[in-house]
Amino acid sequence: MTHTSSFDQKYRGVPGALAPRSRPFIQRHPSVMIFIACLALFTLVVTVLSEGFGVGLISTSFVKTLGKTLCLCLVALAMDVVWGYCGILSLGHMAFFGIGGYAIGMWLMYARTELIVVQSLAAAPLPPTPEEISQGIATQIFGVVGASEFPPIWAFAHSLPLQLAAVVLVPGLLALVFGWLAFRARVTGVYLSILTQAMTLALALYLFQNDSGLRGNNGLSGLQNLPGQADTPQSTISIWFFWAAALALGLGYIFCAWMVSGKFGSVIRAIRDDEARVRFLGYSVEAYKLTVFTVTAVIAGIAGALYYPQAGIINPAEIAPIASIYLAVWVAIGGRGRLYGAVIGAAFVSLLSTWFTGGQAPDINLGVYTIQWVNWWTVLLGLSFVVVTLLAPKGIGGLFDLIGKGRKS
């Protein structure tokens, strides 16, 4: 089809026909700009109030909690793209998150143990051979599971760049292979959700074994100590990671917004609503699902790699199927199908969860029974999930529609 300029003139001014599209991406999507501004302000306020770089109103442990929350917001974004936009209810994205954490944790643990071993062997009369050093590190790390040799998967643990590559590549490849098998077989809906849960469970059970090569149920620990930064206080390191998490969330938000705007976003929302119809339009639904599944798995891996150094420890319980279900609950409560909804949901619910389960919420004495929030929080969370799903499918994000409507009328 060819179009003359007179044709263009004919439709000039028709709304939606010839919308000016030359403006930069950020300008066309004001919500992205608002989000980035809020995130920048939040980062600034936390930094100013922190112990490491500011007046000390916010404790270091709370800075870590906030930094971890930002990582959870990032993985919630990924979940929103794969579920809220593309309609794939993956209940396995926290597995990719955990893998990212393990990948960076291996380097952190190796590098720090190496420093300790080299230091302790320095006093020996003969300078230690590389084999002795390696042996020493292995004994230190794997003594707890009764082993003293490096399993093959630790082959790259000495190298930060290679482990950083693993943060991206391992979740990406796992998602690619799993997704290829599942989508090619046209597994959809609840069956796909069950399959992703099975994947998560299998991974967690495997990691629980002592000979999995990742220290079984002990997991990896001491991750909050950066190698070579023994003299840097945690108050400073916590802010570094907070900044890194904020930067990752900002970039992740822009990337996800870019992905779900435009025609790609159109196609994946169409797949969510009627995938058979999309096939007859000539789009390979499987290829799109696989792309979205893999890209979001990589985002989840990056989020995990930033989360666990702040948490300090990772063990297989973190990959348990329930973690991925919580992720879906956050996104549902925040409002799926809109990116800021996912961020709000993850931040709100996870912070509230920290408050309730941290023993800070006052118990309610009903006389005959005392409600202890540590136990009852999950019940409350489950109930609110049911209520939101039934009564407010747009979640917390839906409130913004009400504000918008109020302004118009």
Binding site: A17, F264, R279, Y288
Partner: protein, 246 residues
């Protein structure tokens, strides 16, 4: 006029029910063809087989000059090869605007990577506007497709098919639920489309078929009962017996 689609000796059985029974069918390019037949005659299954939704038990389905066998292709590959399909129930993406629906259907590279980088140019917006003009929706481009009337949704779906620029268009009961004025417009769109491509219209409504003024194929129990002009087939003894007489 050369043969575009050739279906020969195709059979399909569902749980012992022979939906398609040794069916043979040909259509040239350009051509307008109406397919009629009583319920259960195999009209929908025929479309499912051509578009790749259903694989037949036996037979051949050959498309284009290069004689590509459609049986080896997936639904999306068949669509890319140039076969568009309109369903009986209008299926547009209700959550998205009319312009977005048309933009998605526009004939472009369909691979995820190309679509991810795709940003519409002026001429793409122009193509969308022109299509919207043809289907009478140029003033509704920014509206949610779900807010359109039933007839408008049918047209939007036809517009999306035209946007794909297919060589063969399969249309299932396009006039269902339309007002007389809307039917007339639909007839115009289909007749116009059939000037440059092959269009197969499955229809129940004889009046609508008469207005299309084209060759008619009558299906019965999964195979072709009669073929020719509407007057010819309606005069056919067998057709009267199985379809019109009762």
């Amino acid at each position: 006029m050369s043969t575009l689609l050739e279906v020969s000796g195709v059979s399909k059985t569902f749980d012992g029910f022979r939906a398609i029974n040794n069916l043979s069918f040909q259509i040239g390019e350009p051509e307008l063809r109406a397919v009629i037949g009583p319920n259960g005659a195999g009209k929908t299954t025929f479309m499912d087989i051509v578009t790749g939704k259903t694989k037949p038990d036996e037979g051949r389905v050959i498309f284009g000059e290069k004689s590509v066998s459609l049986l080896k292709l997936s639904e999306s590959q068949i669509a890319q090869a140039g076969i568009g399909r309109k369903f009986q129930r209008p299926t547009v993406f209700e959550d998205q605007s009319v312009a977005d629906n048309l933009m998605m259907a526009l004939k472009k590279d369909r691979s995820p990577w190309a679509v991810l980088r795709f940003r519409p140019r002026q001429r793409d917006h122009g193509a969308v506007a022109q299509l919207a003009d043809e289907i009478g929706l140029v003033d509704h481009l920014t509206r949610r497709a779900g807010d359109l009337s039933h007839g408008q949704k049918q047209w939007l779906e036809i517009g999306m098919l035209l946007a794909q620029d297919p060589r063969l268009l399969l249309v299932d009961e396009p006039a269902a639920g339309m007002t007389p004025a809307e039917r007339e417009h639909t007839t115009d769109i289909l007749v116009q489309a059939a000037k440059t491509r092959a269009v197969v219209v499955v229809e129940h409504d004889m009046e609508f078929v008469r207005r299309l003024d084209c060759k008619v194929t009558v299906l019965h129990e999964g195979s072709v009962l009669a073929e020719g002009s509407l007057d010819h087939v309606t005069a056919d003894e067998k057709v009267i017996e199985v379809y019109l007489g009762r």
